[in-house]
């Protein structure tokens, strides 16, 4: 059956969107039909990784939340040219227009609409998996995303603030009975032993660690343009993204 996967981090800057984009691409490379929704309404960004130009693009998540279109109408086919195995990626972007963002902050929206939208999207596009790129923190739409998700991947950096935030998120996700919770440790300093990081983090949260991804300036440069795992399929980093993709579908 189709599944909803939330990719979340308690704080910004963890590499959450990058992880979501890479995992979506690898799942599509395996022939899956993948939907991605940018729920980071206040600071959208994942569309850049998929090369979607927002000028005059038409409908966005915002348009749907204001009742002006169906969510499926806001889904843009962003399947990368490299994919030729039948897999597809549709992205529902959030608007980058300042007045749209301001309106969300000012007026809010009916969070409950998200649930109906997601179900319609999954059905209309016959999605195998719907990936929710959530807003950092635990606001109402993120809580709803957790309540809808079959799998939650929490992306964290190995630092004190992320450790505490992850503890909060894991506790909340368990209360919302998310069936599959896993952790992705990102931006790990290269001097760390990744097996040790994996073990300590897994033990601390009693939760599987899907992958430990190293931080390096080279990777930052390479991953700033396009989808890293499609451009560098043989890179060890791509192997780690594959581990995450596999864990999300487990």
């Amino acid at each position: 059956m189709s599944r909803i996967v939330a990719i979340h981090s308690f704080r910004g800057g963890t590499g959450k969107s990058n992880t979501a984009a890479n995992v979506a691409s690898l799942l599509a490379a395996d022939g899956r039909r993948v939907g991605v929704v940018d729920l980071d309404i206040l600071s959208p960004g994942i569309h850049v990784l998929f090369g979607l130009d927002q000028s005059g693009m038409g409908h966005t998540l915002n348009t749907y939340l204001w009742g002006k279109c169906e969510l499926t109408e806001a889904a843009h086919d962003v399947t990368p040219a490299q994919l030729n195995g039948g897999g597809r990626i549709w992205l529902v972007p959030s608007s980058v227009q300042p007045h749209d963002i301001a309106r969300v902050i000012h007026d809010g929206y009916d969070v409950a609409m998200l649930n109906d939208g997601f179900r319609a999207l999954i059905k209309d596009l016959a999605l195998d998996v719907l990936i929710l790129d959530t807003h950092p923190g635990l606001n109402e739409e993120t809580l709803l995303s957790l309540a809808l998700s079959h799998t939650l991947a929490i992306v964290l950096r190995p630092d004190h603030q992320d450790y505490e935030g992850t503890q909060v998120t894991v506790t909340i996700a368990r209360k919302l009975k998310v069936p599959n919770i896993l952790l992705v440790v990102n931006k790990t300093p290269e001097v760390f032993d990744s097996d040790e990081v994996r073990e300590r983090v897994a033990t601390t949260y009693d939760c599987p660690v899907a992958a430990v991804l190293p931080h390096s300036d080279d990777l930052m440069v390479l991953s700033s343009s396009g989808i890293f795992s499609l451009r560098y399929p043989a890179h060890p980093m791509t192997e780690r993204y594959r581990q995450i993709a596999a864990a999300l579908m487990r």
């Binding site: 998700s149 630092d159 001097v191 760390f192 601390t204």
Partner: protein, 237 residues
């Protein structure tokens, strides 16, 4: 002729001989102390550092044999060269002294040229001996420093003296000190970073944040209908 340098202990019970020897050695540029008996000589040897001993054999109380035997049994005195003074009719005694560890002998009456040559040779031997002993000692310091690195108690100053040498051992000590310093710095940096890997969570504060969320009406409503919200296989057809 170059001047000899070093500190000599002249041991002879005959005051005339003693003074004669002292004066001719001082003329060669040496620092000389004299003792009239073997017992006094052994006392001085333990009190002060000498480079060579000129030793008469026949003395009334503690004789030359005993002085030699005592010196050779003492690790601190063993390496000081001893030149034995003897009459021409005392060859048996000279042989015995050499067997006991004396380095050379000098027949009475002294020939000044021969005296100078024998003392010079003894001092040269002593100097080489000292250098070798110092070298071995400093190699030991480097080996000890290596053990200290392994045990994590190395300090930069440990090799200070050896590092001051201008030879290959000095270079080894300098390179070793520098590398040990680099390794130590790297270890400290690693330890700082591993410290960051320690996962310490303020459980009370985390629980407080969780409570702020779970006590909201929104969360309670969400939690109560979570079973209906999450799609199941029957939702998709």
């Amino acid at each position: 002729m170059t001047e000899l340098r070093g500190k000599v202990l002249v041991v002879d019970d005959d005051p005339i001989n003693r003074r004669l020897l002292q004066r001719s050695l001082e003329r060669e540029g040496l620092t000389v102390e004299a003792a009239g008996d073997g017992g006094v000589a052994l006392e001085r040897l333990t009190e002060s550092r000498f480079d060579i001993v000129v030793l008469d054999i026949l003395m009334p109380q503690v004789d030359g044999f005993e002085v030699l035997a005592t010196m050779k049994a003492d690790p601190k005195l063993r390496r000081i060269p001893v030149v034995v003074i003897s009459g021409l009719d005392e060859m048996d005694s000279v042989v015995r002294c050499i067997e006991l560890g004396a380095d050379d002998f000098l027949a009475k009456p002294f020939d000044p040229v021969l005296l100078r040559a024998r003392i010079g040779a003894g001092l040269a031997r002593k100097r080489l001996d000292d250098l070798e002993a110092e070298y071995i000692e400093q190699v030991g310091i480097v080996a000890e420093a290596a053990a200290a690195v392994e045990d994590g108690r190395f300090e930069g100053a440990m090799l200070g003296e050896v590092a001051g040498r201008s030879d290959a051992l000095g270079r080894l000590a300098r390179v070793f000190t520098r590398m040990a310093h680099q390794v130590e710095q790297r270890e400290q940096r690693l330890q700082r970073e591993v410290g960051a890997l320690r996962i310490e969570i303020d459980q009370a504060r985390a629980a407080q944040k969780v409570a702020e969320i779970t006590e909201s009406d929104y969360f309670r409503r969400l939690q109560s209908k979570v079973h209906d919200l999450r799609m199941t296989a029957s939702d998709i057809d």
